[in-house]
Every structure is written in C-alpha cells, then in structure tokens.
Symmetry: C2
Subunit: 256 residues, 2 copies
DNA sequence: CATAGAATCTCACATTATGAAAAAAGAGCT
DNA sequence: AGCTCTTTTTTCATAATGTGAGATTCTATG
C-alpha cells in the first residue's frame, strides 16, 4: 500500500487498522464483507481482524448480519453522519452554494467527496428538468475519473496518487461509455489547464456536466461542486459561465 | 461510568477510548471541544487523549479548527454517514414505513435513534401542515425523555439505565414546558402500559405526538418511529389508531 | 453425516500504547 | 513589551496492551 493511502500515525496502530477496516466495509456495498474478505483485503491477521471487528460491532460502528456473517456499517455511523452533516463541516459549508447555484441556473447541482478510489455524493439539489446522473442520489458514487466532479478532484491530486488511483480503477472504467485510461489522462490535462472539468454528452448521451474542486490551500482536494444539465442548454460561452459561477461559490467557501 | 454505557471489549482498549472521544465530539455541538474539555470529560490522560485525537484527525474522522484548537466531526464521518444511510441499516429499513405513515395520515413522521443521552433525528417526512417540532430536521436532537419518540425509547431500556439517563438529563428538562423528573417517570409508566408514547400539547401547545420504539428481540431499543400532528386533528380513537399504524409498520420492520 | 472451509478462542510473547513530566506555544493582563 | 498562567505538544522509560500461530468450534454443502 503506497504511502499516501494510509499515513501511519505515531502510536496508534490499532486505530489505523480499525480505520482500514471501516473503509473496507464502507466500500463493501450493501451485501457486506465477511471476515475472510476483510482479512485478505486489509492484509491483517485473521485473529486481529476478528478482534477489531468485534469491538467495532460492540460500539455499533459496524453491524453484523448474523445470518450471513457479514459486516456492514452500523447504526452509530448513521448518527455520526447526520451529526457531521449538521456541524461546520463540508456539507453545511456548501449547502447555500448548492442551492444558489441551482437557483441561478435551474440545473441539478452536486457536492461530491473523495473517498478511497471513489467520488461519493454528499449532497444534491435537483434541477428543473430531471436529468439522469451516474451518481444517483446522496450516498451514490462513481470511480474517481468518471464524471466532471470526479475528474475535477482527481486532476488536482499529486501525480503519483493520480496514477495509483487510475490504475486501481482501470477495470471499472470499461463499463462507462467512451472511457479509457488515455481519455481520463486527457481529461485531467484539460481540467488542470482550464481549472474546471467538462463533459459534453460523452458519458451519457445528451447530458453535460461541469465540475470544480474545492481546494483548501495546502491540502489535496477533498470535495468538488458540479452541475449536470442537458446538452440542449449549451450555447457559446455557457460552459465558461458555469465555470465562473462555480469559481465564485468555491472562492467564497474556501475564504470562510 | 456505569457498565451499560461503555462495554469494555476484550483486547482493544485504544479503540474503546477512541469511540468515547468520537462520542464526546459528536455530542459537542457546532463549536467543538478543546483537548482539555475532552481529556476532562473522557477521564483520559491528556497525552493519551492528544495522541488519539491526532490520529483521528489524520484519518479525517475528526477535524480540527486550527484557529480555535477545537475538535469536531470530520469529512470522513459525513461519507460513512451517507454510506450507512444507503446500506441495509436502520434508515433504509424505515424509509418505506416513514413514507407510508405520512401518506396514510398526512402527518409529519420521524425516525429517531438513541445516542448517549439524546434522541437524534435520523430521518423525517414532512406532513401536509407545517408543524413545529422540538427535534427540527435530520440531525436534530432532544434529551432522552423529551417528546414521544424519545420517551418511547427511554421507556423500554433497563430500569438502571433509565435512571442513569434521567438523572444525567435532569438539568436539561427544565428548559421544556411542564417537564419534571416525576413527569418523565409518569410518562414512562404510561408508555410501558400502553406500548406507545403520547404527548397531547404538553411540550408545545397545540401539538400532539405519538411514538413507538423499534424493538429487535433481545436488544434494547435503538430507534423509534413517531408522528407529530395538530391537537385539532385529535378525536375519539385517533391516538389508538396512530398507535396501531405504528405497530403495524414496526412489526413489519422487525420481522424482516 | 462427513468434510472442507470459515469463524472463534487461547495464550506466550514483545510490540505498542501509556502517562508523568518537561518543553513549547498561546492567551491575558498590566 | 514583559510577565504569568493556561493549554497544547513532545519525550521517553515502563509495562500493559495487542499480537498472531495454532487449536478448537461452528457451519454450509455435497
């Protein structure tokens, strides 16, 4: 596992390991993961894994399906989640921006966050037209590299981290229209030059998107704002206008 | 700290401690908590506390306001939260029930969960009339013992745990209308007898509520469903009808 | 009802976490 | 600015905590 994925922290090995497991379970989808899966993927000894998982279940950070003996996220996570969403975190800070962007354009807006190899939808405002999105509703996700919000974040990571993620996601790109490794790298280059990511009907015919990362100085991008709209709405200068709107809101958010 | 609050788990002291800290921060509100606060409240040594907090911040389970040096829930929690809400957890399992109850009555419905000494709103469907609620929207909370959903959960905890929570919350009850320790105990007794909790205009004039716990056999109640409605809608048999509706949905949820 | 595969438990061992104490960084006050 | 008090951060010797190989128990499946 490369250095940037998991930074070992001084004197808390057990916690580091617990977080690895939490991440794996969070990524594990609805079906959940078995002890064996988790031990294999984390690289931890089965016994150690078991002990940590049991503890996490005890605290309801994880839950276990006793029938199938699989682990999934627990009730306490749901509670922490709603609490985190209320506090001064990223979701609250972007609430107004999301709503205002939607109001000023009439289009669907998303707040996406980086999570492992994925881009997760943290919040969303639906536009006047129902547009199909890859992400779906809150909690939905796509591989990093798929879609404008997702590309926007990927583009501003360190190059070695980018490479690592792209390579990890290669197998998943094939299930999207027109997406190859080269294409992703091209999109990243375009995005870095332009400052925002654009997709005009490439992933979903007739659907366009514009995305820009939320960059706190000195940190790698953790989140992005994006628009999804009908290609039919596009005319000269429209993409630039959307880019400018995003920039305005993100500057305000970062400035706080 | 009494046994039922934190069950020490075999061979993972550090994790237990981390969860204590996470809980404290989650409870700490929007302003966040300082190292000193956390060390005092958790009873942990300052250095130990510091080390654990740093690690949690490193993993973005917590975030730190560098200006004010205070800790609050981090971005990763928000992500875990939306993931947990999507999986087969309590929120998903109650989604349909919440919507159906709202549809069948036209009233506001809540999904509440037990968290430390509080009852937290995990999900909500707004009714036809806008009614004021103590809980507010998702993520909002009230002390356990305040409001029908909250009483419903409190009523079915073990007696010693009930006592402990009531005593811990005593100071907070005074800020609610007509609420005293005796009143809470009376409501608990009524709720146990009846199977569901009722409030008719006592906490907020003109606003009534009905709540019932979601009881998985062999476990203490972790969540409750509740209605909030205008007292004006009440007539003979209405409360019983609402109780029956709740029972029907909860039986279905538990039966899954 | 065997059998393999997975989960759980045990325990000797040493790595990891602990916390007292010292150092550093802020916050107030005059 | 200078001084004092408070809070945060770092250090390091010590031992308690977590580790993981292996034994045991459980469970699904042919």
């Amino acid at each position: 596992m490369p250095a940037f994925v998991q930074s070992p922290s001084g004197g808390a090995q057990l916690l580091d390991r617990a977080v690895i497991l939490l991440d794996l379970v969070a990524d594990g989808g609805v079906e959940g993961l078995s002890l064996k899966d988790l031990a294999a993927r984390s690289g931890l000894n089965t016994a150690t894994c078991h002990r940590i998982l049991n503890t996490l279940v005890g605290h309801k950070l994880l839950a276990r399906d006793n029938q199938k003996r699989r682990y999934r996220l627990g009730a306490r996570m749901a509670i922490y989640g709603v609490r985190a969403a209320r506090g001064p975190g990223i979701i609250s800070r972007c609430e107004v921006a999301l709503s205002r962007l939607r109001r000023r354009t009439g289009d669907t807006t998303h707040l996406m966050a980086c999570f492992n190899h994925d881009s997760v939808c943290l919040d969303r405002r639906d536009g006047e037209c129902i547009v199909p999105t890859l992400t779906g509703s809150i909690g939905g996700f796509v591989p990093l590299g798929v879609g404008p919000g997702s590309i926007a974040m990927l583009a501003f990571l360190d190059e070695d981290e980018q490479d690592y993620i792209i390579r990890a996601n290669l197998g998943r790109y094939v299930s999207y229209r027109n997406l190859t490794e080269d294409k992703v790298r091209q999109l990243i280059a375009d995005t870095r030059r332009r400052g925002y990511a654009v997709d005009v009907g490439e992933l979903i015919p007739g659907i366009a998107g514009v995305g820009m990362p939320i960059m706190t100085p000195g940190e790698k991008p953790g989140a992005a704002l994006s628009f999804t709209l009908l290609c039919a709405k596009l005319g000269p200068g429209v993409l630039e206008h959307y880019g400018a709107l995003l920039k305005e809101e993100i500057d305000a958010i970062v400035g706080q």
